[in-house]
Symmetry: C2
């Protein structure tokens, strides 16, 4: 699944500006890793991002993907989600949105709901630090897991 070309071009500008601002180099790897995350509507883990980037940069290494993902999170360009079979998942921060998460299998879906975007932050939160984003996470058991009724997770998280 792919975003419109205009948005991808937008991402390019976003990361260029962010690197300049942070005083770090803009490399092909950084560009492609960000593009890969911004270009997916699901929530890829490091391995998946690596495979995607590899199509454009065949010599890229998995460790660079990791380093770049953490860097981008640090720059505020992407966000991490809870783990999926032990591996962290990432998503681009392009628009305000929220999540539905299955507690049984870990399936995660984006949810767009304007009411949630307008939630006001309690004073207490400001005492902890700055506020960048406010997200609502709805947890439950997805329809797929509900259908396979008695099937309980036996050995650790079998996710999404």
């Amino acid at each position: 699944m792919t975003h419109p070309a205009a948005e991808i071009t937008g991402s390019l500008e976003v990361i260029k500006a962010a690197c300049r601002k942070a005083g770090i180099k803009l490399t092909a790897q950084r560009l492609e890793v960000f593009r890969e995350v911004a270009d997916s509507t699901d929530h890829p883990n490091a391995e998946t991002v690596y495979l995607g980037v590899q199509k454009r940069l065949p010599t890229v290494s998995l460790d660079t993907v990791y380093r770049t993902l953490w860097l981008l999170e640090d720059l505020g360009l992407i966000t991490t989600l809870g783990p999926h079979r032990g591996s962290t998942r990432f998503e681009a921060n392009l628009k305000p949105h929220h999540h539905y998460v299955c507690t049984r299998c870990g399936m995660t879906r984006d949810l767009y709901h304007e009411d949630f975007d307008r939630i006001s932050v309690p004073a207490e939160a400001h005492s902890f630090g700055t506020v960048q984003t406010t997200q609502v996470e709805i947890r439950g058991v997805c329809t797929h897991c509900t259908e396979t009724t008695s099937e309980r997770r036996s050995k650790g998280p079998v996710r999404e």
Copy 2:
């Protein structure tokens, strides 16, 4: 930090009922693992829970702690949070509450705010599956990280 005795006793009833309902055995390990999580106001990882349980059950093994934690999550008695230096953190589901999370260091604090407890779930969410809980997650940079200004995370997540 400890909850009042009444709440701990309450946890005992909670897990007894849950095991009976799920048709699984109530073992000392399950009881103590749940108690350990319910008894902490911070967000322990598997290792920390293990160390705590070990004080009461010296022969408990780390793998049993893992198995039990996932089981309890499955039963809906505890919830997982995002990773902290790669390891998943857990918390008991005793009361509705929300989180402040530092995107720089991963520090997580509970937030009690009745307005958030009353948030209404959009119809779209129900199409994904059942709805158990709705939590608000506020992300930002905590005061500690803000003070150590230019210090950017260089090598992976250095959390909390």
